[in-house]
Homo-oligomer: 348 residues x 2
């Protein structure tokens, strides 16, 4: 069955630029005329870098299209994944993530009345979850668990083996019509699709966004660690220094791998949402003139044709990053609770 024009528009907004692994539940809800809701999850471990902007922008688009979106903070998962971090520290990291993600969503203009935060540990110790966990484990082979991804396959401790079960059950305990995750979640999605039905549950639809690489992938050195990513609370100077530190000359270099996806999946979509106070980006062409772009595709065409160079994009890109980061930094500066959470979460 097809979707009517209005429903198709919502569906397109939800799924634009994503790998749509499955979409049955979204379409069914739209066909019934209901509001679609979904969730994006993260495990509170290290400090998030600006690569998280990709799902955040997608959440902004979903909310703009009328969805309600939950942010699943997988604290139980984070503890299991065995980063040698105590449950107490994980709790502080969860607070830190919550403050940060709320600040990002506000910074990109999301209607926060449509956002719900769900802390995983609020349900992982309840009898229904314990029961479902046991049922999932009884119906999962060790091989199926290990197939979800490298982190689980190579684990030598026990706890990471439970992570696929925790993530799959989030589909039951958070619910809605879809789960949004990075393309590294395809193994997790396949596991949920296979095992949830064995215990009587229907998986949600699975959507996957691209993952933004670090700035210096392939030539990372320990001394360069800090400069290999842009973090959300980096100062304008750090952002500028780290971005200027990468090679902007090569067509297949870090700029292409980091900057282009950020433009495609964040900057242009935010412009289109009206979240950045403009509808276009202005860049200098190689001939010295300037040109306004309203779509990413146009910009990419000019780059490939040689009209536009990465170097001339640099100031535009740095300004964009700092524009998004600016209100987040400001919120952090006045939020004592967030600062304290950060201190306790990342004291090392």
């Amino acid at each position: 069955m097809g979707l009517d024009t209005t429903a198709q528009k919502v569906f397109d907004a939800i799924t634009a630029r994503l790998q749509v692994v499955s979409d049955e539940r979204i379409k069914r809800k739209l066909q019934e005329g209901g509001k679609v809701s979904g969730y994006w999850g993260t495990a509170p471990t290290g400090r998030p870098h600006v690569g998280y902007m990709v799902p955040m922008v997608k959440i902004a688009e979903c909310v703009a299209a009328g969805c309600e979106v939950s942010i699943y903070l997988g604290d139980s998962y984070a503890y299991l994944v065995n980063y040698d971090v105590s449950q107490k520290i994980v709790a502080y990291r969860t607070q830190y993530y919550r403050f940060l993600i709320a600040a990002i969503l506000r910074a990109i203009g999301v209607d926060m009345s449509k956002i719900t935060f769900v802390v995983e540990s609020t349900y992982t110790s309840t009898p229904p979850f314990c029961n479902d966990q046991a049922r999932m484990l009884v119906h999962s082979s060790q091989e199926e668990i290990k197939m979800v991804g490298l982190e689980v396959t190579t684990a030598h401790m026990m706890s990471p083996l439970l992570c696929p079960v925790y993530q799959a059950l989030s589909e039951v305990y958070i619910g809605g019509e879809f789960q949004l995750g990075g393309e590294d979640q395809l193994g997790m999605y396949a596991y949920a699709d296979k095992v949830l039905p064995r215990v009587g549950y229907e998986p949600v639809s699975h959507l996957a966004n691209v993952i933004i690489p670090g700035l210096h992938k392939g030539k990372m050195s320990s001394s360069a660690l800090g400069a290999t990513k842009i973090e959300w609370l980096d100062s304008p100077d750090t952002v500028k220094k780290n971005l200027e530190g990468i090679s902007w000359a090569e067509l297949d270099g870090p700029a292409a791998r980091f900057v282009l996806p950020m433009l495609q999946h964040c900057l242009f979509p935010l412009y289109h949402l009206g979240a950045l106070g403009s509808e276009k980006i202005t860049a200098q062409l190689v001939d010295g003139s300037t040109k306004d772009y309203t779509t990413y595709e146009e910009l990419e065409r000019d780059l490939q044709a040689g009209h536009l160079g990465f170097e001339t994009l640099q100031p535009t890109f740095i300004a964009f990053i700092n524009q998004v980061l600016s209100p987040i930094r400001a919120e952090y500066a006045t939020n004592q609770e967030w600062k304290l959470a950060e201190k306790l979460a990342y004291s090392d």
Copy 2:
């Protein structure tokens, strides 16, 4: 530090005929002048056979020595161990085990005011347990889990991997000074000794009883399955038929492997506890005369010296088994709840 005479007597009664893997907590309690308590656990799976008499008699000795003893019914464990049985059926099996074990303990004269039944699922879905389970998994390597025993090592499903954690945590959630288990639990004990301290818990003392083999070990055939063991609710005729069906002639045959340990670990100890209304067993010697035995050692000496033959022991042994089983059968016959639980638990 040594124990005074009274304490040593209690210690000896608790540990007689057992492999004492560790005894620190028992001795510490006795030195402090406190009452020792402990537990014996079982997972409610198939119908128990009379081999369970060994730990039951040990529990009787512990209670007679002043201990309180808990019976740990591992229903969560039984479900995880993946016998393709639903949680509902496991619940009926748990009821069946509880009725049966209480009846056995009453049949051998145990003061039931000293016995507490603990159903595992009453605590496995609580936040403290969930928390401890996560901590144990974070601190257990997959290799350590698989070392506990064949059932876990060879499992291809996920759930049996949690069993060692469940059994180890029973030491925290049931507690007391000791855990009693069969000699097949040594791997479980070693795991608990290794991993509980990593999460801040002190393991209890570990005691292991011998395990009674089936009647026809080594020549089991599917048609002989029913005759390879004596079950608690077998009729006097079945007991007689199954016991007469084994070879009593060979010195190293089934009688030696099944009957002798039952005499050593059940019959004589029950006589000494005054639980069978006599202090001695009377057997016919090979020369046709009869002799009274008050200790197992004396009987074994006569067997080895050829004064006593297995055949002449047969009627004495069959009478003993039927004496113990008789009040259990009677209790079952009038307990409708128990009968219903059995029907629902073992309908296949």
